[in-house]
Amino acid sequence: MKKLYILLILIMAASVLTAAEKPAGEKISAGSKIMSGFKYKDITWSVPEVGREVQREVLDNSIIVYFMEDHRLPLVSIGAMLHCGEMYEPTERMAIPGLTGNVMRIGGTTHISADSLNLLLESLGINLQMSIGFDASNSGISCLTKDLETSVQIFADVLRNPAFPDDKLDLAKEQMRTMIKRRNDNVGGVVARELSHLIYGDNPYGRILEWSYIKGITRQDLAAYHSTYFVPNNLTLAVTGDFDKAKMKALLVKYLGDWAKKDVKLPDVPKIATAPKPGVYEIYKDLNQANIQFGHLGIDRNNPDRYAVNVMNWILGGGSFTSRMTSKVRSDEGLAYSVRSSFDPGSHDLGTFLASTETKNKTTHKAISLMLGEINRIRTEPVSDKELADAKDGFINRFVFNFTSADQIVGRLAALEFDKRPPDELKKYIDNIRAVTKDDVLRVAKQYLKPENLTFTVMGKLDDFEAPLDDLGKVIKIDLKPPVIE
């Protein structure tokens, strides 16, 4: 591998930090003095690139293939990504993509029955996963080298010729029905679902799945969905492991090369209505701990401030123990096990800012107040030099862990193109983090944290709370109805 300089600069970041630890007023331990004497030898590493570690080819029918050979273990894995998903469907059709992915996996193909396929896979120790999620289909097969051709053949067959038998569709529907019936059993799941619905409303990001959308789905719905989106010109493959690239390419051509192209047009997705819904939404359940989650709309993933927002959130509540919210609520006060905040950039539209914790009922108000206090503080005072340096060093030094295996490396590079990201985004990541200043952190905190817009969702034994939550906003009760599954 060529000697490059990215991590060399990372290591320098750590030595700069040692200097930043010194300002008057910072507490210094005896141990930190010992550690500042440690010398770390330079590491030569750079962000992997297409054309160097990873090869990219386009088959005649427009399938994009990323390859990376790795012969340390007798394993091969093939990942497949396609653009499609629940996000693109109207509400009453929202279950079709997920069901299509599931029944592709459990239903066999027009060439081999489900039972024979499963027996074949399990007798060879091959893992096959098919799924269609919110905004993409992500599938994959993993096998021992000895079963490579069989695996390519199976994977191609499942991608191209799923059978969608009625009995397996019925089974998949019954599994979803059971899931819906049981969805109020888990307190964290209820609160997350209700909060997301409050923030996004009926936009695809906030919809709640109901049995009535599933009940009438037929195999024709799945077959039609499959034939619309599972076309070679919509497919990206990521192939890693113990193979010879030329032979692998020949196998892919053999089993996928005669798959005819077809136009694909993804439906438009409704824009998110950005009107905030401030308020306190309370759900009663006889539990000895309150589950607290609150948030508002955040940023999208193309926002140029995303690096500064990540650093700011790390200091606020994203950086586990060393973040301010956790330090206050957990370490100082012993009020909670888990306290965190996140800025999840939306994949196609605005994401969310979310904060959450769990505390015994009688400290609910106190825990929320302490978290809000930290939100207000980071919006009004600059963070310290040490907080900024520690956060940035962490992001920079951890970056290499995105590229520790062939699967990860190829996955990152393939996703860059698949998600239509700027091709140099990974290469510029470290520079972008390094450029974040204290002023940036304060500016983005003011711009993207809006305490007056927060929607609070709280579930617990409400009558045991030490104080009403009405000083946080208008209190609205949510009556949790049993899901309809008939």
Partner: protein
Amino acid sequence: MKHKISLAALVGLLLLCQMAWAADDINLDVTEKTLSNGMQILVVENHMAPVMSTFVRFKVGGVNEHTGISGTSHLLEHMLFKGTKIIGTTDYAAESVLMKKIDSLAALLRDEKGKLHSKLLGGSEERAKALRDEIAKVQAEETKYVIKDELWGTYLKNGGSGLNASTSADGTQYYVSLPSNRLELWAFLESDRIANLQLREFYSERDVVREERRRSYETQPNGRLQEALIASANWSSPYAWSAIGWASDIENVMREDVEHYFHTYYSPSNAIAVVVGDVKADDVFAICEKYFGKVPATPAPPPVLTDNGPQMGERKIEIEFDANPSALIGWHMPEAGQADVAPLDLLSDILSAGRTSRFYKNIMEKKLGQVSASSSFSRFPSLFTCRVMPMGNHTVDEVLTAVYAEIDRLKTEPVTQAEIDKILAQTDADFVRSLASNNGIAFRLGDMQAVAGNWHYLLDYRQEMKKITPADIMRVAKTYLTKTNRTVVTLVKPASAGGDAAPKAGL
């Protein structure tokens, strides 16, 4: 239809072909060294990326506890992130004076709580509150010396990834992945917390763990089931409580008790460190000798001898919780190293691994319920379990009946060799997959070294698996999966939570 023949033919061919095990050809290149104080070090070199995964395991967990100090191993695991005499403090000596003060107040509070247990003993809520307030005051004073979460912060700014720790009944482990040039930093921090531990901020951390128990057990249907099963099946085994411990023990355990426990069980001879990644074994050994090697050797901890007697009949327990019904079944089974462990492991996969398994074909595909079986691999006799979740409107009893029918069939009809071969093929491939990440290797080696005394048992155990016959499966089913030997815990909705027709209204 052009692939039809070839795919169908492949299924047939499988029955004829001689199984070749991919894992047999893998050279798991582990270098071992025992330091002068008895601590064991394992290293695997992997130069794919300039990173390493580390794993430090102590052979201490729930099994070493007794009621009164249940949960101490786990609480101690939390405390090891709170710092040492030289990390996390500006003045260890001054801080120690305050900690001693808190200890004396906490002892008075404990005695007061003891008196408050009975109206007859003359305890006073006022005195207890006064003591709590005084403790809070000294704790506040202590914070001026504390550097919050310095160990955690140091790892993070140096690129620490997957940083955490966990405690089970059998062991406690601390893990982090780092850029590989941080080897010395890791050895320094990990050895320091064994050599110089200081249990600061103890009483607030106890509160944190109490919240963790509410979060992971008391508000979760599965947590409630799990805890009820192990307590009901294990009348006198050290597996009777979960690693988190009983609520009242967490609320009352004393700092000195935990310190004493630490000195008993965190001896170097009770510890194993594994480093996997872009390192040289000799460098790792030299650094480990320099840092871990200077921790003085202490006596080996006492063995665990408490054991369950034979179970004298089926135990049935009901838990009321506001959630849809489910159940958990446990049968007593032997500890790792016993010949019947591998057949039970294979049997659990025949029942529930994959879409050709018996539970999937005969219970899930009939839309009755979702059932998973799981066999233990543990230091002491433990449980073989089945988790049962009815589908749609089916009841727990209907699914239990189906589960017992499948288990009875194992006792009367031999499983086929094809079923065994299928599981062996899956475990072979899964074993190879588990070696794909530094983390995966470090965990598997460290865990096996601790439970079996030798990481090599990973490979020996695979050989044991390959020798299992249908008769072995039938024998262990008959021996262990009996009505007399089982405990069944069922979770039901309390009447007060309302059925589907009468939802609980918000207040």
